[in-house]
């Protein structure tokens, strides 16, 4: 399965992936309209210190702990992709407790959120990958 992989050797810590992610999942067609003056809730986050930086998003594990820990059944897998039905999520954050990668976060309305590879939004392919200026994030089969 194609997954998003990060290579910290090329991550510039520019945080563009976070903005591209938030925009892609906003449902709006203009980034300014989508993000100006708003708090960002990206599903990928850039971490780092000093001169090292790297982006973290869902690894889409073959054996996803978050799915096993989800109390509402909101988290599920779909052809290997780990997805979340936000209408079922009650925001208990058990998935955040479970994910060894720290890849899930809390969304604007208190439910959990995670990368779904942009397959359900208008971007159609991971926006973080598309917008990465230095190919530090790639979408590939490994």
């Amino acid at each position: 399965m194609k997954r998003v992989y990060v290579n910290e050797a090329w991550c510039l810590g520019c945080h563009l992936c976070e903005y591209n992610c938030a925009f892609a999942n906003s449902g709006l067609s203009d980034m300014v309209k989508a993000l100006k003056g708003k708090k960002l809730f990206p599903r990928i986050s850039v971490d780092g210190k000093d001169k090292i930086s790297f982006a973290v998003s869902c690894r889409h594990c073959n054996d996803p702990l978050c799915v096993k820990c989800c109390i509402s059944g909101a988290l599920h897998t779909d052809n290997g992709r780990v997805c979340i039905d936000k209408t079922k999520c009650v925001g208990c954050l058990s998935c955040i407790m479970a994910c060894p990668y720290g890849a899930l976060s809390v969304s604007e309305n208190g439910t959990a959120q995670k990368c779904e590879l942009c397959l359900e939004n208008t971007c159609g392919e991971p926006a973080c990958v598309k917008g990465c200026p230095n190919r530090a994030i790639v979408y590939e089969e490994r």
Binding site: K68, L93, P100, R142
Partner: protein, 415 residues
Amino acid sequence: MKQYVIIGNGIAAAGCIEGIRSIDTESHIVVVSKESQPVYCRPLISYYLEGKTTLDKIGYRPDDFYQKNGCEVLYHETAIQIDHENKAVVLSKGSTVPFSELCIATGSSPFVPPFDGLDSVKNHFSFITLEDAFALEKAISPDSRVLIIGAGLIGLKCAEGLHDRVKSIMVCDLADKILSSILDQDTAPMVQKFLEMHGIDFCLSDSVVRFDGNKAIMKSGKVIDFDILVTAVGVRANTALIAEIGGTVNRGIVVNSEMRTSLDNVYAAGDCTEGFDLSFGDNRVLALLPNAYIQGFTAGINMAGGTKSFDNAIPMNSIGILGLHVMTAGSYTSEKDGGTVYMQKDDTSCKKFFVRDGLLKGYILVDKVERGGIYTSLIREQTPLETVDFDLLKENASFMAFSSESRRKKFGDVV
């Protein structure tokens, strides 16, 4: 062809079904369900009262779950006996179901202490099943004064569920702090204070001597008036079916890492079991959803002839009450047990870590729960803390604390 029988229809049963089907897509599965609903997660009942989930969303799996997995569910049916010799389960309505492999996923039942005068209380509820929630919902009104006995997870989630729907809530507990199973003297008062600010009252280090109609007479002499009583003192594992036929039972049904009981072809999973707690180093009843699912899944695979071992169970809880998130995991090894405790705390948040033998054994996070799973994995994977920058981790659950080599491995590999 085999016939799998699962007694119980909770999360462990769902895990068991999925475990079996990951190996064996043919054989018949029979599920014996006491309740009339398809599998749902019991902790969701407070969210139901709160309005965060609805009956059409509460199902743990899609509507076609049983059908797709080729399961026959016997609703409103209880297993009353296991005929181990003939490999069959005797049901309450008189029939028997033969099994090749059996999984006990009977869960637990609320424990109600024998209070004096409890019979005189008109509106008394437990808070375990959806039926309980329906009954409670029916009984409450905006003018209700609710008394909850037990300030544990169930009691407080019940308080949250009722918070906007009743006039007042009083929670009392014998212990001197709330959530005594997961919080300690530093963190429990913070959460208590937060809940008090939201209008929930507490009466701790006190217990009910007797009930007199709508009055609870406390040991301290205090008298609490209420309209609705919820007892949430605790639960007991349902072990009888195994105990009766000589299987090894302690506080729960004893299982090994493959979820086998001491009896051939009989497995157990979920809240009714007692298994090895990695952080504690001994057997415990770990009545937790993740555990139930993984145990069920593990049992399922082994029942179907596969091989799967679940040997890194630890207690872990993530609970949000009225917007305050608390995450805890592992065991709280104290300094007198040779452990080291690290704590960063301010008025509203806290991060506390319990370390022993160079390993993280447990943590308590109040409010600051971001990426808590990174801590959980340190416990479960028994990562030597000398290989990470633990000072940084205490501040912030970040992969910066790991070597770039381990980051490359974790983020570059398929997992």
